[in-house]
């Protein structure tokens, strides 16, 4: 059994259970759409304000919705102590982390796609010709957010206050991801999209590489305790 097969085993299991229960994606989507509707009523933006403010609103909707998915990620494993069931197998602990990270990112990304089009429809923002750039930012931003969130979700799941603990632990750490994602998205709404876009992407990529390495190394100790 290769390492990759073990990771794919977790992804397949999580997707199968999600397709049947429809818990994580539905919760993220409903919550995210409600946040966007509330923002739409709360802000009456001019065209210039749209460029500066809407990227932030979009990412706030993403991260608020995403926290629900991350909370669900390990709480599903907590039922019947399935996490311990996985720990009994010869699978390396890092495979558990990577498998859970992959499914959290997939579920969050799917929700974001729906939220994005709803947001565009309500706020009338234009990403014409810049869709690949936008999806790349969403992809890297989502992964960066989930890299940290998956680790903290594993820490929080064993506590009584996991619903409160996860955002309190996670948000301070992912501030660079949120800033870089918002700024990169804002650049795409401006006339000259090339300026600054790749600089923000480099920050996202660097954050992801550094924190992925750290989280993989830390995950062993977290499960042990």
């Amino acid at each position: 059994m290769t390492y990759l097969n073990q990771i794919f085993g977790i992804i397949k299991k999580d997707i199968t259970t999600e397709l049947r229960a429809k818990e994580a994606v539905t919760a993220m989507l409903v919550f995210g759409l409600m946040v966007i509707v509330i923002f739409n009523f709360a802000f009456n933006l001019s065209s210039q304000e749209q460029i500066t403010i809407t990227p932030g609103l979009l990412w706030v909707a993403f991260i608020f919705a995403g926290i629900l998915g991350l909370n669900h990620s390990f709480s599903a494993e907590h039922e019947n102590n399935c996490l311990q069931g996985m720990m009994l197998t010869p699978m390396p602990r890092s495979a558990i982390y990577i498998g859970k990270l992959a499914t959290s990112s997939i579920f969050m990304f799917i929700s974001e796609i729906f939220m994005l089009f709803f947001f565009i429809w309500l706020f009338d923002v234009r990403f014409t010709g810049k869709w690949p750039h936008l999806f790349l930012v969403m992809f890297l931003g989502t992964i960066g957010y989930c890299i940290v969130g998956t680790l903290f979700s594993a820490i929080a799941v064993g506590t009584r206050v996991r619903v409160f603990l996860l955002p309190i632990l996670q948000f301070p750490i992912v501030i660079p991801v949120i800033i870089a994602s918002v700024e990169a998205t804002a650049v795409l709404l401006e006339e000259d999209a090339a300026i600054g876009y790749f600089d923000w992407l480099k920050i996202l990529l660097s954050f992801n590489i550094i924190f992925f390495t750290v989280c993989v190394l830390l995950f062993d100790y977290i499960l042990e305790e």
Partner: protein, 237 residues
Amino acid sequence: MQTNIPVFQAQKLTKQYGRLTALNGIDLVVNKGDFITIFGANGAGKTTFLKIAAMLMAPSDGTLLFNGKLIKEADNNARKLIGFIAHDTFQYHNLTARENLRFYGGMYDIRDLDKQINIRLEAVGLLKRGDDLVGGFSRGMKQRLSIARAFLHNPSILLLDEPYTGLDKNASEMLNSLLSSFNNSERAGIMTTHNLDQGYDIATHVAILHRGKIMYFNKTKNISKNDFSKTYSEIVG
């Protein structure tokens, strides 16, 4: 017949939860061919001991050797040889019985996994319910599936934590039959229970764990069930 190759060797094993000492300097040697039943009242430290033996938990102090190697070094290779039946069933309610076994079995190198799954499901009497969601199973059926999972990769060391929980008479007999076929000179087992009737007959050795300490250890051939029962009452009260 015993070959006297220590499978597990606990040396001064201690586990503390804050100020509470759950295990207090446990020394225990388990050889191939041994089936040790550890008796103890609730809170004696039985589950903690098995979780440490299954490498789910690190001890606060002391060492656990697996086939002569420190447990940290044995790690993933040791896990391949361990089967564990615990209080928790480790099952996903939104997966079928077969999907649960396929998920866990997929983490081991098992040839003909689907065939092995059918064999184990049949052994525990769940073959016809294999494609049903586990969420609809009774506690006893979940425990049967838990037994199938523990035996799926043909482990050479079996750890059982109160395995009769939730089992009816037929299922208990099924488990006894599986354990009897499991016992041979190449394998070893450790079972914890507080029920004398269920634990004594299957064991080659019996131990009494009380307040985190092994207070008694003997071969079953050296002590009758009645005498052991009296000893247990004297120690545990």
